[in-house]
């Protein structure tokens, strides 16, 4: 590695920055807003320390710890509250942002042959990698500063400058670490899909590992990068050691990525691709077979992921049970619903999160149709004896089945883990119906995705905005007491809270009818419109 390996890194950094001049500020602004709206909302809701101490009672249980990470519950100021409830979730989003930004300018550019062009110019072998590392690092320093000063600027008493900057730094540091992780997988994997897949897998693994160790053995959480975020103890003991650890690890990851890049050939990876089949299998030889085949790996990965997600939530039920047994106040507080045990009353809250996450793969499965259209690959099918109805129908069936499998597997995961750790065990039927009540709402989301593809193809990504809206109002709605009506604008807001409430027929029926209607309209729209990219 001589100096030539880095020739033109500066120019390329500026170039990448220019390519992402809209994307990066949007990410930073979005994350800053997501973070900055919360403390004032908390400040409004919990005006006195007494009120805040009261809420710690509901927070101090393993389920919450698994979901949100550890927090300073003895000194639950607005600052500590924000850090406890928001920082780990935000860090996960920052991790995803890092994965997407870095993949775009490493493996994705390489896969498309653009790095070949750059390398034929007098730029060094490692220049493009380092340019994208520089841009990504700059982005996360910017994010840290914007969030740090932004939080301080809110002028809330318990949020001092040091704590605010640490809050920003913890998020920025997470960005650094996942920049490094992605940079390494960009060398190891041969495709950008693989890079994103492996990197996100590491991110989820880090989250799950932290969730499990936070409630079983907190010291072990030091192994997970997402553990370092809560270990920074923002707005309480302000532990900057976490940040140093993040920086040290990311520098190490950067060096490894550079080393790997240096010793490999362009457009090659280390995770070898094996030779493929010589003939198409019977399964592949139809539009629906093709639709499945294109998404098979993702489908399997998501299926495993959701089972594990369900199981990791289920695994805390044992702790939950023993926790409640020793807490009189809780038993009184939650003993409103008849027929459901205390533990079971946590199920709907968990199910909302699980079902929202389980909605991602079926919507992706539907949107794959649009993706194929954009890449002009639908022409190959439509120019042969495949009707448009059959085409969109294939993807719709894929999505509908996908959603059913995902929600079922996560319920099964939750049940099987919960039953093994609990003394009394849970009833499979109860858990399954608590999950399945969300299925009609999922169908509505799939229906909207299909509707957009059929009628408004340019606006396909609107479904994700609606999805994020649903996630926001239903996940945060519980924490921040958002008015009911706002939640009702999402299909998930109409789902009865089984097992606390009964399975009511009407809303589920209406949701299903709406979903069916949207799907039918999508058929008509898709048949009539031009194919466009």
């Amino acid at each position: 590695m001589d100096q030539h390996s880095f020739a033109n890194t500066g120019k390329l950094s500026r170039f990448i920055l220019r390519l992402d001049r809209v994307k990066i500020p949007l990410w930073i602004m979005g994350l800053a807003m997501f973070t900055l709206v919360v403390p004032p909302a908390f400040d409004n809701l919990y005006k006195t320390q007494q009120e805040r101490d009261a809420i710690t009672e509901t927070m101090a249980n393993p389920a919450m710890t698994a979901m949100l990470g550890t927090g300073d519950l003895d000194n639950y100021t607005i600052g500590a509250m924000t850090a406890h409830q928001m920082i780990v979730m935000t860090a996960v989003i920052v991790g995803i942002m890092a994965v997407l930004l870095v993949t775009r300018h490493t493996r994705a550019d390489e896969e498309d042959g653009r790095i070949e062009m750059i390398r034929s110019l007098p730029s060094g072998r490692l220049s493009y990698l380092n340019a994208s590392l520089i841009v990504s690092s700059g982005t996360f320093i910017g994010l840290a500063l914007v969030i740090g000063f932004g939080l301080y600027g809110l002028g809330i008493e318990s949020m001092d400058l040091e704590g605010s900057l640490l809050y920003g730094a913890a998020l920025g540091g997470t960005g650094f670490v996942f920049t490094g992780v992605t940079a390494i997988f960009a060398q190891l994997s041969e495709s950008s899909r693989g890079t994103i897949g492996w990197s996100v897998a590491i991110l989820l693994l880090a989250y799950l590992f932290r969730a499990i160790t936070d409630i079983s053995n907190e010291a072990l959480s030091w192994i997970s990068p997402l553990g370092w975020v809560s270990k920074a103890e923002v707005y309480s003991s302000n532990n900057w050691g976490s940040i140093l650890l993040m920086l040290a690890v990311s520098i190490l990851l950067f060096v490894v990525a550079n080393y790997l890049n240096n010793i490999r050939d362009l457009e090659q990876g280390f995770i070898a691709s094996k030779p493929g089949r010589r003939y198409a299998s019977r399964l592949l030889q139809s539009p629906i077979g093709l639709a499945f085949r294109l998404q098979r790996t993702g489908f399997i990965a998501w299926a495993i992921g959701l089972f594990v997600l369900g199981a990791s939530y289920g695994s805390i039920f044992g702790d939950l049970e023993s926790f409640f047994e020793g807490n009189e106040m809780y038993q009184q507080m939650l003993q409103q619903a008849e027929g459901a045990s205390i533990v079971e009353q946590f199920i709907p809250t968990l199910m909302i999160v699980i079902s929202l996450i389980a909605t991602i793969p079926p919507v992706m499965a539907m949107n794959k149709l649009r993706g194929e259209e954009k890449k002009e690959r639908l022409e190959h099918l439509l120019s042969r004896a495949v009707s448009r109805t059959k085409l969109i129908g294939s993807y719709l069936i894929m999505a509908v089945v996908n959603g059913f499998v995902m929600i079922s597997l996560s319920a099964l995961g939750l049940w099987s883990a919960a039953t093994t750790v609990m003394d009394t065990g849970l009833e499979l039927g109860m858990v399954y119906s608590a999950a399945l009540v969300f299925y009609p709402a999922m169908l509505v989301m799939i229906g909207i995705a299909a509707f957009l593809i059929g009628l408004l193809p340019m606006l396909t990504s609107l479904i994700w905005i609606y999805f994020i809206y649903s996630f926001f109002v239903l996940y945060l709605g519980n924490l921040m007491q958002i008015p009911d009506l706002v939640g009702k604008l999402s299909p998930f807001g109409h789902v009865p809270q089984v097992p606390i409430e009964d399975v009511t027929f009407m809303p589920l029926f209406l949701l299903s009818i709406i979903a069916l209607g949207l799907m039918m309209i999508s058929f008509v729209g898709f048949r009539k419109r031009d194919s466009k990219n």
Binding site: L19, D112, E116, M117, S120, L121, P122, R125, D265
Partner: protein, 305 residues
Amino acid sequence: MSVLEVSNLTKKFGKFTALDGVNFEVGSGEVFGFIGPNGAGKSTTIRVLLGILKATEGEVKLFGKDAWNEAVEIHKRLAYVPGDVNLWPNLTGGEVIDLFVKLRGGNNKSRREELIKKFDLDPTKKCRTYSKGNRQKVALIAAFSSDADLYILDEPTSGLDPLMEKVFQECVMDVKNRGKSVLLSSHILSEVEKLCDRVGIIRQGKIIETGSLSELRHLTRTHILVETKQSISSLNELQGIHKIEETDQGLTFQVDTEQLDDVIRHISQFGIEKLESAPPTLEDLFMRHYESKDKSEGKETGGVR
């Protein structure tokens, strides 16, 4: 003096040998044609030349410098156009051209404008809207507007229309006249014939033939069309005659260049009324090399070289 020297270049991807002892060189001011079927190793060779792939064995020197170790220095004097041009979808063609020129360090605004006009490119459009041909134009304009000493062009015209192909050929002739060297990998043999001083044919990772066109033609056959007063007898008994066919215009056949003299002497006995001869095209040469491997037991008369 040669600007490009490749000696005994071998490149392996795992167990697969993509290049197996490739040797050739390109002289200063020379246009070298690099031809071969798909998957023969043309692009791999070019990527080794560019220092993008590291040679497993052998020596590759451009301007006397090692292609891998001194890639950056070499690239300051080199321009490259890939066969499959992928650009950033959200940048305009003009922006990409400027980026490439700037990264090399040169700046020639007037040449850029002239070439944009010549190639009839709208530089204000986003790259995602460009067709394959237009993306190729962007890469060609960026390459030819820079002041390079060696141009490496990997199937640069595969998406261009015939009009643009002509513009491209003018550009190549222009840089040649300025004493620059060109390595042109191509499938379009007429283009190679028109532009190249020398050609190298690669097949299955080996160079199977190099030389000037006239040298190579020596190895192949001349097409003859002849009309005679009396019908020619015992033609097929002669050495080196192939593909005899009776047509409306007369008799056509191919002759091995070494046997040309004997054949002409023989047919002149029958009173020649019309004689047309065409030099062997590169295509014949090309096809003959491929056929020769496939049909080790030739059905044709006459020996396989």
